[in-house]
């Protein structure tokens, strides 16, 4: 680790927080319908859909609308992927995708996961990329933000029972938050070297006389939303490592900024909507604390390098360089990795499979903690609110008082639903991993023997259920078994989690606000922040420790002993 490396990390995080505060306030204004500069376009959406944007919805109506728009998005994307061979803008003449792969990919992009069992420049036509995948990048992000706004209203309002209007939230967030940010960031990306063209791939004659086929495409705009929406699905196969998707350190820094700014901003939005900015700041600082610790852990592990390589005569000065490109440096690779897995993004600017065992365990653990640090756009906020409810409940048990959060009494119904949501992740991840590790048709996909093989499979289901999308890339994921079960894991991780969360919101929305008393536990400040961090670690992390001990931890000691498989 170097001082200049830490200066890079500090600069990027400072830029994230500096932008998150005004963006969070702006998003709160969007949620209240006070932002109107695209009013004619917005009105067009309501007219075409027969939508009354002022009609209040119950949690059920809100959730049904959310599922309906996602189902429609899934069907359209599935059709585009299957039919890309007869659609325009397919200069390479690529075939339609197989049913398994199209199902997996469509689920993946609708669920804001962007797990990719294909390589973009080999499998996807330009129209599949920009009109299929990129559109779902926007819409799955808007879905997450809309849900977060609805959950925020449950705490903000007293006794109303309604959560706002899904169609209005969804349309406004897309038009006023995501689209302008993506346009500005997309143009910046073109200026810094990411292609944006409909031209066919180019064949170059290299200096030594060989041929090199250089892929192109309308990438910059899609790469912008891929980060802003914490989607993470690369335009090119190796994601932000590809020189066209991550041409330099400034681009990578902007991408880190992009995949953090909205999740952090939504904490500020929450504080604003519930009328107490301190509440949002406390959540933000807990998230930020985890990001900093995780970055330090990855940076230290990767800078220390692999003793097996050092014994072979490799200079340890550069750290572990297998699977990394030169231009980003270890510091920005560590920060990118911690933020992409903490934020449920899943883009990569270094290959996790080749990380040192401890360096690779950190992203795995960040996802297992529930994708709330700071989590995906929207999903991070409603995820950490579930933990906050559990934290006040446990604190209430300790002192013998009825737990409250923001004046709302937290009772048996909410806690049961919160536990149901929290259990989706371990049940899905550990269940599918356990079954797959004894199924020959699943283990045939593994690229490694020894503990690294277990890490590969565990990582895949963790990434899918956590709606992250990054991978230990050795795994051969394009098989019927993995395409199907990973697809199911993504659906469970997104929708089986969201439904209990919405039910909690509905239940809380119907409760009147009780005024704060002398016995109320303050839910801001260091005491609550520590409590919340503890709950996230214990409830989110503890059940995964045995699997981590068998995978990355075991591999760490094997590596120190100099053994290979």
């Amino acid at each position: 680790m170097t001082l200049i490396g830490w200066a890079q990390i500090a600069l990027v995080l400072a830029a994230v927080i500096a932008a998150a505060i005004p963006l969070g306030r702006y998003t709160a204004a969007v949620a209240e319908g006070r932002v109107r500069w695209l009013r004619p376009v917005e009105a067009l959406f309501y007219r075409a859909g027969g939508i009354d944007p002022t009609a209040e919805q119950s949690w059920r109506a809100y959730a049904v609308a959310m599922v309906a728009v996602n189902a429609a998005g899934f069907l359209l994307l599935y059709a585009i992927l299957r039919l890309q061979n007869i659609l325009p803008l397919n200069p390479r003449g690529l075939d339609g995708l197989s049913p398994w792969l199209a199902f997996n990919t469509a689920v993946s992009f609708v669920a804001n996961t962007n797990w990719q069992a294909y390589s973009g420049e080999v499998a996807m036509s330009y129209v599949s990329q920009m009109a299929g995948l990129a559109v779902q990048n926007f819409l799955s992000a808007s879905t997450g933000i809309a849900l977060a706004l609805a959950v925020s209203r449950a705490f903000a309002r007293g006794g109303l029972g309604s959560l706002g209007n899904f169609w209005a939230d969804f349309t406004r967030v897309t038009l006023y938050v995501l689209l302008p940010l993506a346009v500005v960031m997309g143009l910046a990306f073109v200026a810094l070297g990411i292609p944006q063209t409909f031209a066919d791939y180019v064949t170059a004659t290299t200096l030594e006389g060989g041929e090199q086929l250089i892929p192109l495409g309308p990438a910059a705009f899609q790469v912008a939303i891929k980060h802003l929406g914490t989607n993470g699905g690369g335009f090119f196969g190796v994601n932000s490592l590809h020189p066209f998707e991550g041409p330099g350190a400034l681009v990578t820094a902007l991408q880190i900024w992009g995949q953090q700014v909205i999740p952090f901003a939504l904490c500020i939005t929450f504080g604003r909507m519930v009328g107490d900015a301190r509440q949002g700041r406390t959540l933000l600082l807990v998230m930020l604390g985890f990001v900093v610790v995780a970055t330090a852990a990855i940076y230290a592990a990767e800078a220390a390098g692999n003793p097996i390589m050092a014994a072979l005569g490799v200079d340890p000065a550069q750290g572990n360089m297998e699977g990394k490109d030169i231009r980003f440096g270890l510091a920005l690779a560590a920060l990118f990795t911690a933020t992409t897995t903490g934020a449920s993004c899943g883009a990569v600017n270094a290959m996790f499979s080749s990380f040192t065992p401890l360096g690779g365990m950190v992203p795995l653990f960040l996802m297992q903690l529930g994708e709330v640090l700071p989590g995906g756009v929207g999903s991070g906020l409603y995820g950490i609110l579930v933990f906050a409810l559990l934290a006040v409940f446990i604190a209430g048990l300790m002192v013998g008082r009825t737990p409250e959060y923001l004046g709302k009494k937290v009772q048996a119904r909410e806690i049961k639903l919160a536990m149901l949501a929290v259990l989706v992740l371990p049940a899905t991840i550990l269940g599918f991993t356990a079954v797959s590790m004894v199924l020959p048709m699943a283990t045939a996909s593994l690229a490694h023997a020894g503990p690294h093989g277990l890490s590969e499979m565990l990582y895949a289901y963790t990434s899918a259920a956590g709606n992250n999308g990054s991978a230990f890339g050795g795994l051969t994921a394009d098989t019927p078994w993995l395409n199907t079960t990973l697809g199911i894991a993504m659906l469970l991780g997104r929708f089986a989690y969201v439904v209990p969360v919405m039910a909690i919101a509905g239940s809380l929305a119907g409760k009147v606000k009780t005024p704060e008393g002398s016995g109320t536990l303050p839910t801001h400040g260091p005491l609550f922040a520590g409590l919340l961090a503890g709950i996230i670690l214990i409830l989110g992390g503890l059940q995964f420790l045995p699997s981590l001990a068998l995978g990355p931890l075991a591999e760490h000691f094997v590596m120190l002993a100099g053994k290979t498989f």
């Binding site: 859909g49 309906a68 420049e121 990129a134 200096l207 080749s354 690229a447 591999e555």
Partner: protein
């Protein structure tokens, strides 16, 4: 039920038209006018022929050229098949490959980037230390003074972006192109 189908279908179709067609088309149009070079892939032409992209690494095997990092993209630097080795830290395959590369790389210790495969398989850069070790070989193969090669290397060593971000590095294709360009 029909009450939910109409808004769902119309919202998805309208957003596909706006975000999937109109916006990227406008973006491509603007990019092509304002940043034509970058938008088109930062291609380098010599005598009217495309010889590569300034951003994408190429394979070099002849001793007269600076050699890039090991690549797992296709048979090496296949730009249409970007890929990493994906080998884990305790992989015997990785250890064997590195052992072989170290043996071929001269005096130890060897800079890590010279014997490890990049993440993209298309890394256009090498570290300045890796490049410096190759200077004597190139000077000998070309029959030119080492000082001349060293000067070119210095001119093509890029510092951190904005003086802070990333790492110092050398673009192999641009440096080799400069070597081939008569003074």
């Amino acid at each position: 039920m029909t009450g939910i189908l109409r808004p769902a279908a119309s919202t998805v179709l309208l957003f596909t038209a706006l975000l999937g067609l109109a916006a990227p088309a406008a973006m491509t149009g603007i990019a092509g006018v304002v940043f034509p070079d970058q938008a088109g892939g930062s291609l380098i032409e010599r005598e009217g022929k495309v010889i590569g992209s300034a951003l994408i690494g190429q394979a070099f095997t002849q001793p007269r050229y600076f050699q890039p990092r090991p690549s797992a993209a296709g048979n090496g630097y296949d730009a249409s098949a970007s890929a990493a080795s994906q080998q884990g830290p305790t992989s015997a395959k990785l250890a064997d490959a590195v052992r072989e590369r170290v043996a071929a790389a001269g005096p130890q210790p060897v800079p890590a980037d010279a014997v490890t495969a990049s993440g993209s398989g298309l890394d256009p850069h090498i570290s300045p230390e890796n490049a410096a070790r190759q200077v004597p070989r190139i000077a000998a193969a070309r029959g030119i003074p080492e000082a001349r090669v060293r000067t070119l290397l210095q001119q093509h060593t890029e510092g951190r972006e904005l003086g802070l971000l990333g790492e110092p590095r050398v673009n192999v294709l641009l440096l080799n192109l400069a070597l081939d360009t008569p003074r």
